[in-house]
């Protein structure tokens, strides 16, 4: 989530540095968690399609997104590493899964206010809840990271 590529890369670096400083390590990536993330991403895009009634079609100028796509994936993965990885894990151990789910969902929504405004809070709360649900279901941050990245890519590619 950033206004430009340099800002996005700075944001990613800050997130990963802070996540590392908190002592969190990502762990192994398991195929079933990736599969759950893909399904989760499909649901996020499906909700957009069903709820907003948009037509889904590939954008005409796909080449223009060649540099954009890896940056978007990096931002999504870094956000998930901090929220559904480090923060969720620490809170779950400390106060239980409900607190972890609530705090990370609210944090996710608040983080997006500077760029999208207060009007985006209900949507981002719902998305945070969905990604937190994936974290709870799989026990891994991989699934929400994959779902988040797919949904963000869809925002540019569709």
């Amino acid at each position: 989530m950033a206004a430009s590529t340099p800002a996005a890369l700075l944001f990613v670096a800050a997130l990963l540095a802070l996540t590392g400083a908190a002592g969190w390590r990502p762990g192994a990536v398991r195929p079933r968690h990736v599969a759950a993330g893909v399904l989760g991403g499909v649901v996020l895009v499906g909700a957009w399609w069903l709820g907003a009634g948009v037509r889904l079609q590939l954008v005409a100028n796909v080449a223009a997104l060649a540099w954009w796509s890896p940056v978007v994936v990096a931002v999504a993965v870094a956000e998930e590493a901090l929220l559904r990885g480090a923060l969720f894990g620490a809170l779950q151990e400390w106060r239980g899964p409900r607190t972890a789910l609530a705090v990370t969902s609210v944090a996710f929504a608040v983080m997006h206010i500077p760029l999208y405004g207060v009007g985006a809070v209900p949507l981002d709360l719902a998305v945070g809840l969905w990604l937190g649900g994936l974290r709870l279901l799989t026990g891994s941050w991989t699934a929400p990271a994959v779902a988040h990245a797919l949904a963000d890519l869809a925002g540019g590619w569709l």
Partner: protein, 234 residues
């Protein structure tokens, strides 16, 4: 929390997502998140020129108009009109169009026009002008500004005066949105005390304050994490 409870959370979140997308003004691009890839703003009279857009519809009876959008072709679009189910009723075919126009004579009293003025109309084959059937079926209009700050207000030209419409920031490309029960001529207006109006090249969102603010939030989060870890190990 059990897998069943996690499944319930997902079910609740899925329903919430669909409902929020339904009730939120059908705007807020991008879908969820991302890095904004915005071309420079195209002012009327410059090259490349801003684009127009139009969509033709057949005759529609009450409640039969389908959700639709009319969008110009810049990246992101400089003007978007989002229409919900039942917005229009017309016994004959009609066309909804968006056209950048030269600023009309009257100027806003509370600021200066930023970017282009757009004429947004729905006109039937017999030249009758249409508007949304009621306020509950207002059209959502998104216009790009040349910058985000200071916040712009979307205004509609009603005769000889510009009328404010409740405006929200819609994200990528300095885009602002508002719901309007009437079509007509629209523009974004920079408040008088602000600067940067008049349609010049934009500077985009204030990147540095945004990044600094986020880093501060994240630092606080991380410090909290470290304290948690220490309290557990202690």
């Amino acid at each position: 929390m059990s897998r069943k409870a996690a499944g319930l959370v997902l079910l609740l979140a899925g329903v919430l997502l669909t409902v929020v997308w339904r009730v939120t003004p059908a705007a807020s691009p991008p879908v969820y998140d991302g890095v904004c890839a915005a071309d420079p703003y195209r002012a009327l009279g410059s090259s490349p020129a801003p684009t127009s857009a139009s969509t033709m519809y057949g005759a529609v009876t009450t409640g039969n108009f389908q959700t639709s959008e009319v969008v110009t072709t810049e990246t992101p679009p400089q003007a978007q009109l989002l229409l919900v189910d039942g917005t229009f009723v017309s016994p004959e075919p009609f066309t909804v169009s968006i056209t950048p126009i030269s600023p009309p004579g009257p100027q806003p009293s509370d600021g200066s026009i930023d970017g282009n003025v757009y004429r947004i109309v729905a006109v039937t084959a017999s030249a009758k002008q249409l508007n949304p059937v009621d306020a509950a079926h207002s059209a959502t209009l998104l216009l790009r500004a040349t910058a985000t700050s200071p916040a712009r207000t979307l205004e509609r030209l009603d005769g000889t005066t510009w009328t404010d419409v409740k405006t929200l920031l819609a994200g990528c490309g300095d885009t602002f949105e508002a719901a309007t029960p009437r079509l007509g001529d629209f523009a974004l207006v920079v408040p008088k005390q602000g600067s940067g109006g008049g349609g010049g090249g934009g500077t985009g969102p204030p990147v540095v304050p945004i990044v600094v603010g986020l880093v501060v939030i994240l630092l606080a989060t991380t410090l909290g994490l470290i304290r948690l870890n220490r309290s557990r190990s202690g």
